[in-house]
Point group: C2
Chain length 314, copies 2
């Protein structure tokens, strides 16, 4: 298990070491990347060498985070940001899982793979923790660092929409805007822009949407052919599974998705009084009250059995 | 013209009058309604009689703002919130345009129709001004008032996404959360939930989307038949016109919309280096560099002429 350390100890650790590799998690999102590039920029401003190292390619929409480039040096100290479990290091797990000297994280579920852990379980984003560490180190918050951290705050909270947002998240956002975060352009790129592939996927999903029980249950279908023909990547698919439960009046939203192995994965989201886990348990699956899943061999079997069961309880 | 008054004078006016009618603008949005119901609740808590009066039916998604009901009394004093021009009073214009004793607003373009005007031109939302007025009056910010004001802040800024958001907007949001605003449920209803009519409109719009110039120009079409057949109301149509310019790689986004009178209204949105006003001036229209419009007699004429011109300049 990691040794839990305070913010003062985290800042002191960073001040007394050098030549940093800052690891992000695999399938990187705005929070792990924003946190990583902000920390690296702050460390460099204090005369340290530092690079971000991401297990997967960085999606193009985050190009602005990489503006300060990579440095040449032989790494000595490994840090991770927003990594709750060494499994999330993806292809870097084997090489790095035992070498992380300090993890900075906001997941209270952090498994403690690093030697030291600076954890803020009440922060909406890892960027909140990194922001506080940067200030504790006495580094200047430049407009670039502010933009990196704002990206983390905004993406992990759905632009301050989700229930993980706290008053402190808003106060940090206000401060980062004052430090020069390019917030409106960041929000445009993160929340407004959609690829043509994504729009084509939405079109096909909407064309195939099915309602049962007077519109109280909606079923959305995503096939491997749809993914292949539209050219969607995983970041284009973000939020597609949520479409069925965002429809007014829908109490049970179902996404039926063909997996790469040909089996069919069901994601079920419910509102009161329906228990998603209880429904999925009938079909060998499980999960939580509001979100659960199960699997079937074929699309026809999945839809037939789900529709019959849901019609019987609604 | 209105007499411009300070926040102290606005609070003093409200303290020394009674029996308030608080007018919102027509086609009400979250800001005018949230501001109105918050102000009414605060006035009542100080022993005053007060009701919100809205020129149009209040869309159902705002039902939670009306929870405190209407009072019985003979009105004496008329206030408006978020109303920049007496024309925006809609069907109430004739009756009220000369009777508004105090306008509270954040539009620096306010035409000055009221006797007194408390204006904060740098506020993202009228709710910011009303929040400050409520505190100046010494009223308690209840969870209900906080939810009303949060609704105004969030809806007028696209949930803190748009460039009108300021650090102060975030600080107020943090304070309103601390006062008990039901922010995650409000955000779900305002930004996540879509009606079946809206989804059906999106489906039809996506089915008809046209790209020209290698996807650098996208054309979206909305007909009266689509509006009628989907059953969309004006609040369902919010954001439909923006769809064409949210597509990655699109530099000119065009919405071609059939008006009730059968003519075709073109809305054009551009990114650098294209000048929307210059394009629309060719067809007798005009506007701003990034957003402009013009009209045509028929859909065929609109599309033919626009496509030919845009192909020639791209």
């Amino acid at each position: 298990m990691s040794k839990l350390i305070s913010i003062t100890e985290a800042a002191e650790f960073l001040a007394t070491h050098d030549k940093y590799t800052v690891l992000t998690h695999a399938h990187p999102d705005g929070d792990t990347l924003g946190s990583g590039f902000a920390l690296v920029s702050a460390l460099r401003s204090l005369g340290k060498k530092a690079n971000v190292f991401c297990p997967d390619p960085i999606p193009h929409k985050f190009d602005y985070l990489t503006a300060e480039g990579q440095q040449e040096f032989t790494p000595e100290t490994v840090i991770s940001v927003d990594v709750a479990d060494d499994k999330l290091l993806g292809c870097l797990q084997g090489e790095y899982k035992e070498k992380v000297s300090l993890a900075i994280d906001h997941h209270s579920t952090n498994v403690g793979f690093a030697e030291r852990l600076y954890l803020e379980g009440d922060s909406a984003a890892a960027a909140e923790c990194v922001y506080r560490v940067i200030k504790e180190m006495g580094a200047k918050v430049t407009p670039f660092i502010a933009s990196c951290l704002y990206t983390g705050l905004a993406t992990d909270t759905g632009c301050f929409k989700f229930s993980n947002t706290t008053p402190r998240t808003h106060i940090f956002a206000a401060e980062l805007m004052q430090y020069g975060a390019d917030y409106d352009e960041i929000n445009r790129v993160m929340f407004e822009v959609k690829t043509q592939s994504r729009l084509e996927m939405e079109r096909r999903v909407l064309n195939g949407i099915e309602y049962i029980c007077d519109g109280r249950c909606a079923i959305v279908t995503v096939t491997q052919a749809m993914i292949k023909e539209t050219g969607c990547d995983s970041s284009d698919m973000d939020g597609i599974a949520a479409m069925s439960r965002q429809i007014e009046g829908v109490q049970i939203g179902i996404t039926v998705r063909e997996k790469a192995d040909g089996r069919w994965k069901i994601s079920l989201r419910t509102f009161e009084p329906y228990d998603a886990a209880a429904i999925c348990q009938n079909f060998g699956g499980g999960g939580h009250k509001r979100a659960a899943g199960c699997e079937f061999e074929t699309e026809a079997e999945a839809k037939e059995k789900l529709k019959a069961y849901i019609t019987s309880i609604m």
